[in-house]
């Protein structure tokens, strides 16, 4: 007996859906025959039989969604006896990571970050026909991470354009198109590949307005996933927030929630400046309740997402979720934390942080990126300049380690800032003060 299980088909896939079964119980199958079509977080893929045999049971019906990786989908009788009891399919939702479930609320207004980004682009493209999207696999493939799904169908190949793998070239092309009166959205498959294009982003997009005495604005959005994904090692895992935030002429946005992703991307597209829009692959599949529709969120405004009196925790992008988890743990220790989501890195909403520090007198900054010259370093500098007298303790930061991101599961986890690290930092800062 062969158990056909939900396979893991991408580094970030935790579950999949059965789109279609191509076999039914009793059918004979050969090695390589397509058994089913499975939809992952990135694509719709075919599941092939790995052995010859007869389909004995189909345990998960067509159309079932969010089946965890490893769940037995079907059993194929290959003539060999298997000394394992085949369980009928229990409620598979039991197996789903509890943490993931917490993020999935049951409102009609739930959308994923992935959908939010797609909707933002589609809504803006409907309003302004000078907007186009260009990048690798954005059109026919529907996006390497399915973020541009459906855009080709709606807007056609004039406005949704697949490029060759040529980052420096199409980043420069986008800049030229922006100079020429269009509003390009340039998708990098991930921001790791934007390093090939960073000269065009900084020297051409960011500086030309100044160098032209204000004549030559560059309304362009460079967007794509940023930061560590999952087990893809050093060249594909790093946060570029501080790289871009360092340069005058660029705006840098890094949303956490779906609403923010949507509202901020709409603002970024409308903004007349070059905007670096940093997404996060691990957030793409997360659902959030959206509160906005067709609305923009201004760049440069942070969001106080939880009030508290004991310590301020500042975070952006994926670290916001970790800060919220830490704050729940801290509540159990009688520490009431205040959580600020920066949302925009540049311009930085420093006043929101200062106001919070004046209330809590303690500050922790969370950042997935490397510690040296990071966003947290900048915030620490500004807070000590502007609110030194309000601080009761040295400012603490929780960041990635100063090391290329390792592949091994345990080492990767150690290198990235975790919920426990935030909890520990908060306990340390509060306990030393006798809270």
């Amino acid at each position: 007996m062969i158990e056909i299980k939900m396979p893991s088909l991408s580094p970030t896939m935790t579950s999949g859906s059965i789109v279609k079964w191509f076999v039914k119980e009793g059918d004979s199958v050969l090695t390589g025959d397509v058994l089913a079509e499975i939809e992952t977080d990135k694509a719709t893929m075919e599941l092939e039989s790995i052995e010859e045999g007869k389909v004995k049971n189909i345990l998960i019906k067509e159309g079932e969604k969010d089946i965890p990786v490893g769940t037995v989908l079907a059993v194929v009788d290959d003539g060999n006896f298997i000394n394992k009891k085949i369980e009928t399919n229990k409620s598979f939702t039991e197996n789903i990571d509890i943490k993931l479930m917490q993020d999935i609320k049951t409102s009609d207004n739930n959308i994923t970050v992935r959908e939010a980004i797609r909707d933002a682009m589609a809504e803006e493209m409907r309003l302004d026909d000078t907007i186009f999207i260009m990048g690798e696999e954005v059109a026919e493939y529907q996006g390497a991470y399915k973020v541009t799904q459906g855009l080709l169908e709606e807007f056609g190949d004039k406005r949704v354009i697949d490029t060759p793998i040529t980052e420096q070239g199409f980043a420069g092309l986008g800049v030229g198109a922006a100079f020429g009166g269009l509003k390009p959205i340039i998708e990098f498959m991930t921001f790791n590949f934007a390093m090939q294009a960073i000269d065009q982003i900084i020297n051409s997009a960011a500086k030309t307005l100044y160098m032209s005495g204000g004549q030559m604005g560059c309304p362009i959005v460079f967007r794509g996933p940023n930061g560590a994904a999952s087990r893809v090692a050093a060249q594909h895992s790093q946060c570029f927030a501080s790289w871009y935030a360092h340069c005058p002429g660029l705006k840098v946005v890094a949303p956490w929630s779906a609403s923010d992703a949507k509202g901020l991307l709409k603002s970024s597209i409308r903004n007349p400046n070059p905007v670096i829009f940093l997404e996060n692959e691990l957030l793409y599949g997360q659902s959030f309740e959206t509160t906005i529709d067709n609305e923009t969120i201004p760049l440069g405004q942070g969001n106080l997402i939880k009030s508290g009196n004991d310590v301020t925790i500042v975070a952006f992008s994926i670290m916001v979720g970790k800060a919220l988890s830490a704050s729940k743990v801290l509540l159990g220790q009688n520490i009431d934390s205040e959580i600020i989501d920066l949302r925009t890195i540049k311009p930085l909403d420093i006043n929101l942080i200062i106001d919070s520090v004046k209330k809590t007198n303690k500050l922790i900054i969370c950042e997935e990126g490397f510690p040296f010259s990071g966003i947290s370093s900048e915030i620490i500098s500004q807070v000590q300049e502007k609110a030194f007298d309000w601080l009761d303790a040295p400012i603490s930061r929780v960041t990635g380690l100063d090391v290329p991101l390792p592949y091994a599961e345990n080492l990767e986890k150690m290198a990235l800032p975790q919920v426990e690290d935030i909890v520990e930092a908060a306990l340390s800062i509060c306990n030393r003060l006798g809270n």
Partner: protein, 347 residues
């Protein structure tokens, strides 16, 4: 249409002393006298402007990097003379000639060189970074080769807007070995974008001769792998440049995609003002000046076309006046206001 990758050079004699040559043969564009005079004026303006810029640099009035175009005038004047007014232009940092050929005001260009508020970028860009939306001049780019994908992006915008215009993308022989140039060739050919790549081969990328830097037979062939036709052109002869430019523009304006023109030209001055030019002999420079100078060649044609010396002297005087007025303006214009320091960073 000239055959792609043809090694054949345009047959216009370059030697200065060749009396009795029929004008019609030389003047294969069949320009009238006034049109020939206009080309002459423009080339002379660039020459005199650049000579003045060199002087101002020597006096310390112009600082930083300053790359003079002297010797290459026929390329940009010839090409721009066959453009349409809506065609866009982009080039590298050796850009003063291009701006003048696009019709930008010499005063504004010179005042930018001196870093004054009257400059095209209010003194904040300098020699390498000037722009004029009005004249469709998109810079002025200081990073070798970076203007090439941007030029392809301008061509993309022409196609997107269906305005029928072409982007004239100039690059030097030093830029042709940058990877992004080939990324640009590929995309422009793939999508048949309206762009003409004009490679100004002045024989030296800074101090390295093209033969020490570039493999292959000809820079005109660098687009061969992408199916982009290329032609070598005598870039010291403004009429050859015009002829080749017309053919290239005709090709790309018809929607057939990009075209490469390799302009064989020469810069008389160093790469920048601080270049001691030890990589070539004085006799090499003198030989080109004496035998191939684009302005002298055209002057000869004008003389053969019965333009009187007095008329030419008159032109010379008017050009000198324009340049001296530009330099006066550039020296008298104020330094930018302190308030300008932190403006124009964001819109």
């Amino acid at each position: 249409m000239r055959k792609p990758f043809s090694k054949e050079k345009t047959k216009v004699p370059l030697k200065r002393k060749s009396p009795g040559r029929p004008i019609k043969k030389l003047n294969n564009n069949l320009l009238n006298k006034n049109q020939l005079i206009e080309l002459y004026k423009q080339m002379l303006l660039i020459r005199r402007f650049e000579e003045k810029a060199g002087q101002l640099y020597g006096m310390g009035t112009i600082a930083g990097f300053c790359h003079l175009y002297i010797g290459q005038e026929a390329v940009v004047v010839g090409m721009q003379s066959v453009c349409e007014p809506g065609d866009s232009v982009i080039t590298s940092y050796r850009d003063h000639g291009h701006m003048l050929a696009c019709g930008m005001d010499p005063k504004g260009v010179m005042a930018e060189l001196t870093g004054r508020e009257g400059g095209y970028s209010k003194g904040k860009g300098g020699s390498m970074h000037m722009f004029s939306r009005e004249k469709n001049f998109y810079g002025g780019h200081g990073i070798v080769g970076a203007q090439v994908p941007i030029g392809v992006g301008l061509a993309f915008s022409h196609r997107y807007k269906e305005d029928g215009f072409v982007c004239m993308t100039y690059l030097g022989d030093g830029a042709v070995n940058q990877g992004q140039v080939y990324e640009s060739f590929n995309m422009s050919a793939l999508w048949k974008l309206p762009v003409v790549f004009i490679i100004e081969n002045n024989k030296y990328g800074m101090g390295t001769s093209v033969t020490r830097a570039s493999a292959g037979r000809s820079l005109a062939e660098r687009g061969k792998a992408y199916g982009i036709p290329g032609t070598e052109v005598d870039g010291m002869n403004v009429l050859s440049v015009r002829q080749a430019g017309k053919e290239a523009l005709d090709y790309t304006r018809k929607g057939k995609g990009p075209y490469i023109l390799e302009m064989k030209t020469y810069r008389y001055r160093g790469h920048s003002m601080s270049d001691p030019a030890k990589y070539r002999t004085r006799s090499e420079v003198d030989a080109v000046r004496k035998q191939k100078d684009s302005i002298e060649s055209l002057k000869e044609i004008l003389q053969e076309n019965n333009i009187k010396d007095d008329h030419l002297k008159d032109i010379d005087g008017k050009i000198k006046l324009i340049v001296s007025e530009a330099s006066e303006f550039a020296e008298q214009s104020s330094l930018p206001d302190k308030e300008e320091l932190m403006t124009d960073i964001y819109l």
